[in-house]
């Protein structure tokens, strides 16, 4: 049933990695709708992945995490690949918004995070801040770009292109509260099937206040290169310490300079050396 999309309500993705088959339909749909060019990466030789990473022109990326066991596993226990369609997490507490100096990164009426291309000046502070390595410069437009959660489609009442194209419903779009309920039920189902290591990532407030694109993972978050809750911290945490260190150094530096002025250079030179006699000078 199509989702009724209304401004003022929080929307997002629930990505169930247990049913991802790595078809990359999401990547293609994303590129088609957002008119992102195909990029020639050459042959990466990295498993079945030839996209490599999320960047300014790849806003969906199916990760193929090689997890082939050394020994033959029993029936149902083999996990040769962890598959995950990665995307911007549209964090509730977004590091990129935290550090954007131009106000280019805004929160939309659908509670998603959007970079205004006409405002961004390409300072790349958001790239340094994003803990998921999502944002990058689009070399054609020379501004920072990432998944918009199909902002334009949402405004037109349509679900995002990737979710629409996903053949296994690994990517589900909807109101955040409904998705969270679905995710809890799905997790219980997967656990009941015997995959005890399955877990939800970003569905609650522990990670950046809750992710608008959250995941059911089949392994621990680190395996997918996702920071655990303790490491999911905002860049602004270092403002206080950094500025205090700066002020402390300035005060010590000031005292040092005043000391040097008062002692007129005795620190570096030691005791004032005698002036050498100039040759030919009158006795």
């Amino acid at each position: 049933m199509a989702t009724n999309i209304v401004p003022g309500k929080a929307y997002g993705f629930f990505t169930d990695t247990s049913v991802c088959i790595g078809c990359k339909a999401c990547e293609v749909a994303c590129k088609e709708w957002n008119q992102l060019p195909a990029t020639d990466n050459g042959f990466l030789g990295d498993s079945l992945d030839n996209t490599g990473t999320l960047d300014g022109q790849n806003w969906r990326h199916v990760k193929f995490i090689d997890n082939v066991p050394d020994e033959t596993m029993g029936t149902g226990n083999g996990k040769p690949f962890l598959l995950m369609s990665d995307v911007c997490k549209h964090c509730t507490h977004a590091s990129c918004m935290d550090v954007c100096p131009t106000g280019a990164i805004i929160r939309t009426e659908f509670d998603t995070v959007f970079i205004q291309g006409s405002v961004c000046n390409g300072c790349r502070n958001c790239i340094a801040a994003c803990p998921y390595d999502v944002i990058d410069i689009d070399p054609q437009q020379d501004v920072a770009r990432k998944c918009t959660l199909c902002y334009d489609r949402l405004q037109g009442g349509m679900e995002p292109a990737c979710a629409k194209a996903c053949p296994t419903e690994s990517i589900q779009f909807g109101p955040l509260d409904e998705l969270r309920e679905k995710a809890e039920k799905r997790l219980a189902q997967v656990h009941a099937q015997g995959t005890s290591e399955a877990n939800l990532y970003g569905h609650d407030e522990k990670v950046y206040g809750g992710l608008h694109a959250f995941f059911l993972l089949m392994d621990k978050p680190e395996a997918y290169k996702l920071p655990v809750a303790e490491d999911a911290v905002l860049p602004q945490r270092n403002n206080l310490g950094g500025y205090l260190g700066l002020v402390g150094t300035a005060v010590v530096g000031l005292f040092g300079a005043i000391f040097a002025l008062r002692n007129r250079g005795s620190v570096a030179r030691g005791a004032p050396p005698p002036e050498p006699p100039s040759p030919g000078a009158a006795p």
Binding site: V99, I127, A128, Y132, P235, G245
Partner: protein, 307 residues
């Protein structure tokens, strides 16, 4: 039991490279020069005025050149003013984001340029017409406030790096202080370099040599603090990995002349030292090494985290 829990970093590098490196270098020197110039003029002797003017002469072009480099580093340089004015439709107005040192720093740079420009013109007026523009208590207040802004300029760049999710940068709180201390020692070295052929500034050079040594001790302490904080976060190995270790060693080597008094007249006291000191001054070896160390320190911090 694990004593050190490594912080996981999955953030991608912002690719801040050469423009940013030289901007950080110039910001440190400009900040240090304005600060030292103010101290020399208002808390030194009349003989210190000549070097104070050099400091004020350096601060403005270094700031402007730094601002140009900063602009060139943007992927959309013509939109540099978006840092100052919000161009979001319907939200036009001034831009200020206190949670990022980049925004605070841009405004500080603008204010600092104003202080530097007036002080520059004042130094010109003193040299050309023998009359000061910045006079009395008002002139002193102007320079003191300018110095505070410039101390911020010299060090906020380190805080800017820390306020990220990058490895190394975000694992330490001491980068701001480190860059400030290094900028101050670099500024003292630069003033020594620029005043080396001037007569009548020997006493001032002594003050600069002492300051440089003290600032370098402070820098060394902060460098140790940076390394200690990196141990705590498990990124020390990355910070001191080859080939970036060479930059760290170069930064350390740059501290030696100041610590050893190489830039001073110390060797005059030894047999034949007068000749050695004269050669060193002529080659300007000591201050040049200090400045290269200041540059290497910033290069180490910038590049090691992004590889």
């Amino acid at each position: 039991m694990t004593l050190v829990v490594a912080t996981e970093h999955f953030a991608g590098p912002p690719e801040w490279t050469w423009y940013i490196l030289f901007y950080f270098f110039l910001a440190g020197l400009a900040g240090g020069c304005y600060f030292l110039a103010t101290l020399l003029r208002y808390w030194g002797t009349a003989a210190d005025e000549a070097v104070a003017r050099i400091g004020f002469y350096v601060a403005l072009p270094a700031t402007l050149l730094g601002a140009i480099l900063l602009t060139l580093d943007l992927k959309q340089p013509l939109r540099f003013w978006h840092m100052l004015f919000n161009t979001t439709p319907g939200q036009f107005g001034l831009n200020f984001n206190s949670t990022t040192p980049m925004s605070v720093g841009v405004w500080a740079l603008l204010v600092a340029s104003l202080f530097a420009a007036v002080s520059f013109i004042d130094a010109l007026a003193r040299d050309r017409r023998g009359r000061a523009i910045l006079r009395g208590a008002a002139g002193m207040a102007w320079s003191v406030v300018g110095s505070i802004v410039y101390l911020f300029i010299a060090g906020y760049t380190g805080v800017l790096l820390s306020v990220s999710n990058q490895p190394i940068w975000s694992d330490t709180w001491a980068l701001g202080g480190l860059f400030l201390a290094s900028g101050l020692s670099g500024a003292a070295a630069l003033l020594l370099l620029l005043s080396r052929n001037r007569s009548g500034v020997e006493a001032t050079r002594g003050v600069l040599e002492s300051s440089e040594a003290l600032f370098t001790v402070l820098e060394l302490v902060l460098l140790v603090l940076v390394l200690l904080t990196l141990i705590d976060d498990g990124t020390l190995g990355k910070a001191l990995s080859f080939p970036w270790l060479l930059l760290w060693l170069a930064a350390l080597a740059g501290m030696l002349p100041a610590l050893g008094g190489l830039t001073g007249r110390r060797f005059r006291a030894t047999s034949g030292g007068a000749v050695a000191a004269a050669r060193l001054q002529a080659w300007a070896l000591g201050p040049t090494l200090v400045l290269l160390g200041v540059l290497a320190l910033r290069a180490w911090v910038i590049f090691t985290a992004q590889h």
